[in-house]
């Protein structure tokens, strides 16, 4: 029996939850297994903002005692998790990756987090992130860069940098991220894990640090599509604390994981998402298409409207809304921001209100045009980014004159989807010859996460990229 088969931390979320429920492992054994890996990996990765070993083990013991009495709190009873440090958890410090909120103690608990707690999860700590979730690389001038477990010289992607790194290294079974311009899909792609950017409004944002009220989405990063399906099903749905959360019924996402690809049509764009790709990303895209075909999907070409306009509109909306949220601190504490985040927040100050509102007014027609272009397909397949994870050194551009160009290139394929507010599932689909993961995104119709889950789960039944585990060198 190899090491992997006996280490609970290496199981999927769904599998470990079942193992605890079936008393094959205690919550303490599982939690200790994760803590052991955290102790090994944290010095290399810097993925955790706070490690709460003592309280996690105490909570695990309480979960075990409850289960011994026949009291299960839910489908995730006793499962230890850590999340991006922007989800308010009453009584806990929530830094938002910033110096400004270094000592901020939340007085409420975010709805998404509370729903996972209600399902029985145990808190093992909090995860690193880009300052105020405003950056796609994973650099953080206050708490240091987060490192990619596949090669620690490379970035994780951001802004859910700790979530991507920790899930990939099997330090947590899953983690909440947030996606405003690509911040779930980017770390999922660069770190080789599965990430679901939900439809705008599918999961409540109450108690989640805001960046852009029109674009922010809450979603999971996990090892498998099935894990993401379980978590999204628990979190999604109406919330009296967030009236922008949709009242649409929440489908049975776990049932969707059992569907096949037969009879499905998957669109592949003829331009933009296939232009200027790194050769290895292009190769993985071709291989992914071949696998989907082999499993019964029909691949069709789709001609999309000009995606550069969507990217531009996204930037106008994101920059303006972020600047508005931060205006008080921009006046009172500009010196407490990192250089790049300060520059990007200042960008929003210079966008006239009419330009912002034009970008908001165009959102409906832009979405209608996308839907018309993809009519007849069940989802669109595209790379998450044109390249695999860059090195930390080459992407550490701070507030230099080239900074925005670097950010634009990394987020080229994610921002249009944020502007449209559509769901997008990033799945591991291959590796470069140098051993870096490559992911692809499946983009669906609004509130049709179930279709993406169906396709992604079917893909993972026939591939093993999501099961590969980085080794501590």
């Amino acid at each position: 029996m190899n090491k992997h088969s006996t280490e609970p931390a290496l199981m999927s979320l769904v599998a470990v939850a079942k193992a605890i429920a079936d008393r094959k492992f205690s919550s303490r054994e599982v939690t200790q297994s994760c803590l052991n890996r955290i102790a090994e990996w944290q010095p290399r990765l810097n993925a955790f903002m706070a490690i709460e070993a003592e309280s996690a083990l105490a909570a695990a013991d309480a979960a075990d005692a409850a289960l011994a009495r026949g009291n299960s709190h839910g489908v995730l009873h006793g499962v230890p998790l850590a999340h991006k440090d922007m989800y308010y958890d009453a009584g806990k410090v929530v830094t938002c990756g910033s110096k400004i909120r270094r000592d901020f103690v939340a007085t409420t608990t975010s709805t998404a987090l509370q729903r996972l707690k209600d399902a029985g999860t145990v808190r093992s700590g909090s995860l690193q992130m880009v300052e105020f979730a405003y950056g796609p690389t994973g650099h953080n001038p206050h708490y240091g860069a987060v490192h990619n477990p596949w090669n620690v010289d490379h970035i994780t992607g951001g802004s859910s940098s700790g979530s991507g790194s920790a899930v990939a290294a099997r330090l947590t079974f899953a983690a909440l991220g947030s996606d405003t311009g690509g911040s779930i899909r980017m770390p999922a792609h660069f770190c080789g894990v599965t990430g679901l950017k939900t439809t705008v409004g599918r999961v409540s944002r109450a108690g989640a640090m805001p960046l852009s009220q029109s674009l922010d989405t809450v979603g999971p990063l996990a090892r498998t599509v099935e894990d993401c399906a379980l978590l999204t099903g628990l979190m999604a749905g109406a919330d009296p604390e967030d009236l922008t959360a949709s009242t649409k019924p929440v489908p049975d996402y776990m049932a969707a994981t059992r569907g096949s690809l037969k009879g499905l049509k998957i669109g592949v764009p003829t331009a933009f998402y296939v232009d200027d790709l790194d050769a290895e990303v292009a190769r993985v895209l071709d291989e992914t298409i071949a696998t989907l075909k082999k499993e019964g999907a029909e691949i069709v070409k789709v001609e999309l409207p000009d995606q550069r306009q969507l990217t531009a509109a996204c930037q106008l909306v994101l920059a303006t809304e972020a600047a508005a949220f931060h205006k008080r601190w921009l006046i009172e504490r500009p010196q407490d921001y990192g250089a790049q985040v300060l520059m990007r927040l200042q960008n929003g100050l210079a966008i006239p209100a009419v330009s912002y509102l034009e970008a908001m007014r165009w959102r409906g027609p832009a979405l209608a045009a996308w839907l018309a272009a993809v009519a007849g397909t069940d989802a669109v397949l595209a790379p998450v980014a044109p390249m695999p994870a860059p090195t930390i050194a080459e992407s550490d551009v701070g507030n230099s004159i080239d900074a925005e160009a670097v950010i634009q290139r990394v987020t080229k394929f994610t921002r249009p989807i944020n502007y449209l507010g559509l769901p997008s599932l990033s799945i591991p689909t291959g590796f470069t010859r140098a051993g870096l993961p490559v992911g692809m995104q499946l983009v669906g119709r609004a509130f049709d996460e179930a279709m993406l889950i169906r396709i992604g789960a079917a893909f993972q039944r026939t591939t093993d990229y999501h099961q590969r585990v980085p080794e501590l060198s």
């Binding site: 106008l316 520059m343 210079a350 027609p365 004159i401």
Partner: protein, 65 residues
């Protein structure tokens, strides 16, 4: 749509109550310029009756394959 240059950026940020210096204004103008360029074909062309809330109508419409 005309993208703001450094001088316009200084004026707008001052009006917004968060003035920036010359260097920052140049950096901001350089950063946001591509967004204005990219949106130029749309800016000033939208029909009168188009509400931002039209997005929710499209998003929530039942769309079949």
């Amino acid at each position: 749509m005309t993208k703001p240059g450094p001088r316009e950026v200084m004026a707008i940020t001052t009006t917004a109550g968060v003035p920036v210096d010359n260097e920052a204004a140049s950096r901001i103008a350089n950063s946001i310029g591509p967004a204005f360029d990219g949106f130029a074909a749309i800016a000033g062309t939208l029909p009168f009756d188009l509400e931002p809330a039209s997005y929710l109508l499209v998003q929530n419409a039942e769309v079949s394959k």
